[in-house]
Amino acid sequence: MEAKEEVEITLAKKGDINSFNRLVERYRNQAFSLSLRMLGEREEALDTIQDSFLKAWLEISKLRGKSFRNWLLSIVANSCRDRIKKRKKEYTISFEEVDIASPLPSPEEEVLEKELREKIQTGLLFLPFKERLAVTLFDIQGFSYKEMAEIMDCKLRTAESRLSLGRKRLRSYLILRDVLPQKYYLKDRA
């Protein structure tokens, strides 16, 4: 952890709102990405991170032993889980990804890429919550096993196992939706 961040956490614990806002600002996009991947709806994802940030602010004194980022993301993950439990209707994919990375080369490729991403995102939403969280954290957001386990608040082996199961389930989904070639499916069943 950076020394600067440590100072900001200490100040935030003492009630310095500006320090807290600086901390949140640093991880805002990561929190939003996680929320969006888990929920699949932009507005709901925004509401969730807003709730999570407020909760983090109210409970910052409880932060111990974890990095601020992992602690914040675990709050976001729990809020997403609560939202999913509450909602009655099925999810819909309703968000436009605004990639921070470089833009896509041509409009045709962009359309194809967008379709592909939507299919992957839909596949993600078919996964059970814990597997979806593992796949999102590790394969999309690029966290390490250790970080993933910390955010998910579980053991390393458990996180690894959830990731493995999630990948397999997603793979089957993508084969059935013709995103991956059928030959894999046939080989698998042989």
């Binding site: 009630g15 709102i17 807290f20 806002n21 949140v24 600002e25 805002r28 996009n29 990561q30 929190a31 939003f32 990405s33 969006l36 991947r37 925004l46 991170i49 807003q50 940030f53 407020l54 909760k55 602010w57 109210l58 990804e97 605004v98 990639d99 921070i100 990375a101 890429e113 592909l116 991403r117 992957i120 995102q121 796949v135 394969d139 999309i140 957001q141 690029g142 096993y145 690894e160 990731l163 493995s164 990948r167 397999k168 997603l170 793979r171 993508l174 084969i175 995103v179 991956l180 030959k183 894999y184 080989k187 698998d188 042989a190």
Partner: protein, 261 residues
């Protein structure tokens, strides 16, 4: 026999493929999986499909821009609502509305007024309700002593009766507008409390035919009764009538009535 051992090895290796892909296995397991993949086409296909899945996931952006959020100084003072508070929020709001309504009606019947023409000579027992008074609002005969109502007040009561009738025609829309029908709390919102000719609360207004139907949850009834007793301790409040019975007022009790859907 050989086939059995081969399949068992395949199962074990397939369980390790995700870790192999990440390079997180021990040296011996890495070698074991690598060796098996070089010999087993099925497991190799599974490995490739898994690898392609992960590659597809890598195409998704790791970060998506979100609008900025700032916690304001005021948020420090807002305590997070406790779960029990959230659960009670809907019944509590109903009770509050009913309490305010009751209070308003009490004032209109028996409250002091600066204008003498609006003052009752003898306050009628508020909450008195006869079967006739609901089924036939124009029938004012009750077992209580005759009341002298100033003209203005009588007109006011008639207006409130017509307002009830009017509401009956709009019951569906008002329910939907209130958004309460879709509540998770299990409250049917088809019940109401009546005081004289005035209806309080949400939901349907009693029609001329049916008056009693489903029961509201007991906790709501208890809370309402407690609330009303507090507001006006002089009222004997009877228990909720049996389902399917008509509401009779023989003792000046305050009935809680509901309409059959």
């Amino acid at each position: 026999m050989i086939d059995y051992f081969r399949k068992r090895e395949c199962r074990k290796v397939r369980g390790l493929l995700s870790g192999y892909l990440n390079g997180s296995l021990s040296q011996s397991d890495m070698e074991r999986v690598g060796c098996h993949l070089s010999r087993c086409e099925e497991c190799l296909a599974e490995f490739r499909s898994l690898k392609e899945t992960v590659e597809l996931l890598h195409r998704l952006p790791s970060e998506i821009a979100s609008p900025p959020f700032f916690i304001s100084q005021a948020d420090r003072r807002i305590p997070a609502p406790k779960r029990w508070m959230r659960k009670l929020s809907i019944p509590a709001s109903i009770i509050l509305v009913l309490a305010l309504g009751t209070w308003a009606i009490l004032l209109s019947f028996g409250g002091e007024s600066t204008d003498d023409s609006f003052r009752l000579e003898k306050s009628p027992p508020v909450g008195m309700l006869t079967e006739g008074s609901i089924l036939h609002p124009e029938n004012k005969e009750t077992s209580s002593p005759p009341k002298v109502l100033p003209t203005a007040l009588t007109e006011e009561r008639t207006e409130s009766t017509s307002a009830i009738k009017e509401l009956t025609t709009k019951e569906k829309s008002s329910l939907h507008k209130s958004g309460l029908e879709e509540s998770n709390s299990g409250l049917p919102f088809t019940w109401e409390i009546r005081l004289g000719n005035c209806a309080l609360g949400f939901g349907y207004v009693a029609s001329r035919e049916g008056l009693v139907a489903q029961e509201p949850p007991q906790r709501v009834v208890d809370a309402l009764i407690a609330c009303l007793k507090q507001i006006c301790p002089c009222f004997p409040i009877q228990a909720l009538p049996e389902e399917g019975t008509l509401v009779h007022d023989q003792s000046g009790h305050l009935p809680i009535i509901k309409e059959r859907r």
